[in-house]
Symmetry: C2
Subunit: 189 residues, 2 copies
């Protein structure tokens, strides 16, 4: 940020009165331009076939991580709820009809200023279809997942939480909410 979006004057980094952090502040109109984390919302859509649980993954047709696999997810938009964002991204990226269940993972990624939320979901049918941001959409059982080709650490971690919980569910347990924080690593977010 170099210029004020309200008046076009240059901005400068300084700590406003009653604040403790440097912000971009306009040198003319004094508007403070706050910058805050973004929310990424997605789903973990599952399909039961012959007693086997499969998850729906999308092969990315866009950067970052072009060609890698991800759960359907994207930036939450203004004027929508988390659940609406989850439904919208699943339709846009995977063309998938889902029943949305409860919030499953809440993942902070401070080095890219993001919080990722994934909802558990069930596919209503298998009429999914890659959207413009996906090269392919496919179902994977646990042993079929291309773990080395997962686009984002938050997606890999959510899948791991899911298959761990699934073992508990099969012995009378329940799915539960998982919180996890990611710090800077070699793998881009």
């Amino acid at each position: 940020m170099k210029f004020c979006s309200a008046c076009a004057a240059p901005v400068a980094l300084k700590v406003p009165a009653d604040d403790t952090r440097e912000r971009f502040v306009c040198t003319e109109c004094d508007t403070i331009h706050y910058q805050n984390p973004n929310i990424v919302v997605g789903t973990l859509p599952i399909w039961n076939i012959d007693g086997e649980v499969k998850v729906l993954l999308c092969k990315r047709a866009i950067e970052p991580r072009y060609g890698y696999w991800t759960l359907p997810a994207g930036f939450m938009e203004n004027q929508e709820t988390c659940r609406q964002a989850a439904q919208r991204e699943t339709i846009e990226e995977a063309g998938a009809n889902i029943e949305l269940h409860e919030l499953f993972s809440v993942l902070s990624v401070p080095h890219v200023d993001q919080v990722h939320l994934f909802y558990r979901a069930t596919l209503i049918d298998t009429n999914y279809l890659a959207g413009t941001e996906s090269l392919a959409v496919a179902l994977f059982s646990e042993h079929e997942i291309p773990w080395e080709e997962i686009a984002f650490a938050t997606v890999g971690q959510t899948l791991k939480f899911f298959f761990e919980d699934l073992k508990k569910v099969r012995t009378g347990g329940q799915f539960s909410l998982h919180e996890h924080d990611f710090y800077k690593s070699h793998r881009p977010e």
Copy 2:
């Protein structure tokens, strides 16, 4: 937003290629200026005294809702995790030493482009002290809560979820995550 923060040229509302929504786009350098929801993170700090559960509320010293009561909460900052934001806001607004527990409520407020997250917490001691954004900080049992003077609907709802869960916990149940969506009402957020 009237001007581009990268080059100071005017912006115009238009739908970028491969997009479905109007964005502010620079008329000179074509930068797309996305606007997305903000995350508000807070805590529900509790204190057990003589078998009675009390919650810590702050009387707001700032607008909006000056003079109304709220749970300690505020905008999440870049470069921090949700849990760090919860701890920081509790210290800044209430000077309270807490043990942070699990995420308790996830509340979408689409008409103000916000998602509110509240963590359950336990006070470690009663050496709390109003910060610069609070006129007062005090403990309230369920029947003492000034329900008509609660600053935000998300705070009132989180308190209601808490006391409902507390009744379940006393009969062998557990606290659980609560999701709720708020739509436009007479009460400002």
